[in-house]
Subunit: 433 residues, 2 copies
């Protein structure tokens, strides 16, 4: 009478999930109804950290997702293919799906959820964002009575680890990255993390849930942390900020009340005021801040990755499905589905209104700040603070923080400033929360 | 075809909930199926911040909970009676119940959940703890795949506001309390808040959900913040701590795996290391940190009270019930019920193993620290740090922080220290996280 799982993949997350289910005393009693029926792996004979009957293993992953005995398919192989095709085939065969695959969901969520809604099955994805932190279900359930205005997250542990060490040790990006790779906190190819692509996948998913509309991943503006220098971290600190890689999805004023709103969705290094709740999230931790009406604020915090936390999230999805199957709902529970079908409209980055931090290297001549100020004024950029900070060789270093300004206007001002004879270069340009 | 609400009380929370439901564009579409059918108030003719047909109002609260038309009773009158009796009568008449009433649930949860399980109805209580922060549902659902080891919370906004101001302004408890009362952050009778009783209600509820057993409120050890002095806040700061009123429920080692574990459940002012996630929770904010296996950590943060956040929580419970009613479950959804019936066993406070902070006033004589140390050693208390901090008039002030020690042993040592001729008094005694 158990609910039968077909697990695709037995890597770190799959192993953690099997361990949790096999060792279920002291956990929710419904987990006792779960049977690990099939596990699809590449090498059935490989030694494993978990004990399972030989008959459970198979190399035939397509056979699992079409097996009439399987109730729930747990996709933890990662990557785009064959994960996408297996998920779609599982749905076609009436299986509920649990996946930890942010890359597949952020790119193919459209076809996956359309197929799931047609087939009347659930696709659960708690583990795709924020490790073990329950944030997907709260967004689908409890928080959905709110009109969400903004989701702001530190959703990539690797970059937060690197930025935290740069901050505390005064080290350079390259040095900390190399050390993080040595310690296993960063991949040999760190692109997905340090260039913000992983965070972009995650904010696309969070935005879709928070604003009840689909998101085209290519609309998400994405800038990584390679350009963040220890110089900027030091200046930010003096000005009362820390630098974090934020993933932000926000309604563009006035907050629309239609389900498919006009949004700004972006990932970029950001100066965060030290008193802000996200400023104290350090190391490999993740945190997601939700702002809305009438809740005001809610923040979720925890380790953003790792076998244990991710297994907790995958298992919580399994638990939700077992509960739904056990209470034999006549129609799908609307708090577990992703029913929205419209696309959210995403504003181009030029339309963003934000504060900026910029660092200039100029000739050491009187009147330079005046010239910068005149040029900014021409494009409607007003300055919150201007600090002549010191010298780099012969050149004077000037740091400005602007008031809120339209990004397009600010960039026009910068283009003109670059033509000034007294300006050598603009080594840094960062947004300010 | 709407789901009919009978709302008991139209104070701050009731009004916020009605406003949210009446203004439902841009929220979860299921809220459109909710009908505000009856609102029970004392004075139907009183001017209200919300517009409702006169026919909705009634002074007959018992009539609402027995009305066959009512599907869900929303109890937001607060206080013990008639809230308890009305909730029980509603259950008896087959109504699902949403309540924000921590006092009733922490005292009468036993009879309420027993009645609800017998009647096959749900009693939802998201708003009872942590304002709008979704923490009750995550504990019942996503987090319940974990073996929880500890729940540690700042769950009372008033005391956190007072302690934060004492910390930042160097003011005394009495001065800040008076000002907080003037500003409306503390009640005219602040007992429930400052003596920790409100926090005790909340940790009893959280512990019950986290450890899947019932909790006797009188077993919860409770100490408020009246004795916290600005002197101690200053010393704590120097030693790397902030002082917070923590509500803690924790398994006593070894972590038991039976559902009704052996627990330490308590509320007391606590020295929290500055790097701890709870240390940076300031002002009226609440935060609840959950530790367990395999999730490691998860923290939930947000405003702990207020009409908006609380209305968000009440409405999210209504949403869960509407979803359950709409998907016409044959049997109750086990992730919405509170099925546990055993009582957790609570360890007496003497058995607690913790670090302590203590401040002594002694005669200014050589060898005093040695005498303290000898006395501590006799009872197995080892010291992490000893600081002779200064003088109060003729008396020397000595602050110690211990290593982990059994509370009973520590108190025996203190009793003997009090008899020392060189010791004048022990003005402060606080636990350290």
């Amino acid at each position: 009478m158990g609910v039968k799982l077909g697990i695709l993949g037995l890597g770190t997350v799959g192993t953690g999930t099997v361990q949790l289910i096999q060792d279920c005393a002291g956990r929710h009693p419904l987990l006792q109804d779960v049977e690990i029926y099939r596990v699809g792996v590449r090498s059935p004979d490989k030694p494993r950290a978990v004990k399972l009957p030989t008959s459970v293993f198979t190399t035939d992953l397509a056979g699992i997702v079409t097996d009439p005995q399987v109730d729930i398919v747990v996709e933890v192989i990662g990557g785009l293919e064959p994960a996408r095709s297996l998920i779609l085939k599982a749905i076609e065969h009436g299986k509920h799906v649990v996946t930890a695959n942010k890359a597949v969901i952020s790119r193919f969520g459209d076809e996956i959820f359309t197929a799931a809604n047609q087939a009347g099955v659930y696709v659960m994805l708690e583990a795709a964002v924020g490790g073990g932190i329950p944030v997907i279900q709260p967004l689908k359930q409890s928080l959905s009575v709110n009109r969400i205005h903004a989701v702001t997250g530190i959703v990539n542990g690797t970059t937060n680890y690197i930025l935290t060490r740069m901050q505390t040790e005064g080290s350079s990006f390259d040095d900390v990255l190399a050390d993080a790779q040595r310690l296993g906190y960063a991949e040999a190819d760190p692109t997905a993390d340090v260039d913000g692509l992983d965070a972009a996948d995650k904010i696309a998913i969070l935005a879709s849930l928070a604003f009840a509309g689909r998101i085209k991943l290519q609309d998400v503006y994405c800038e990584g942390i390679r350009q963040v220098s220890k110089t900027d971290i030091t200046y930010a600190d003096k000005l009362g900020f820390v630098i974090k890689l934020l993933a932000i999805a926000k309604t563009v004023n006035p907050p629309p009340i239609s389900p498919s709103g006009y949004l700004s969705v972006r990932v970029h290094p950001t100066l965060v005021p030290k008193a802000h709740p996200l400023a104290s999230i350090n190391g490999v931790y993740n945190a997601i801040l939700i702002e809305g009406e009438p809740i005001q604020q809610g923040m979720f915090f925890g380790p953003g990755a790792g076998a244990g936390p991710t297994a907790s999230a995958v298992s919580s999805d399994i638990l939700h499905l077992v509960a739904a199957l056990k209470s034999s709902t006549a129609t799908p529970n609307p708090l577990l589905t992703c029913a929205h079908q419209d696309y959210c409209q995403i504003a181009p980055i030029e339309e963003l209104v934000t504060r900026f931090y910029a660092r200039f290297l100029t000739k050491d001549q009187p009147g330079v700040i005046g010239k910068l100020g005149t040029c900014f004024g021409k494009y409607g950029v007003s300055l919150e603070s201007v600090v002549q900070t010191g010298f780099q060789g012969e050149l004077a270093e000037i740091v400005v923080v602007t008031h809120d300004v339209r990004e397009g206007d600010f960039r026009q001002a910068l283009a003109e400033i670059r033509t000034l004879e007294t300006v050598d270069s603009i080594p840094s340009l960062l947004r300010v929360l």
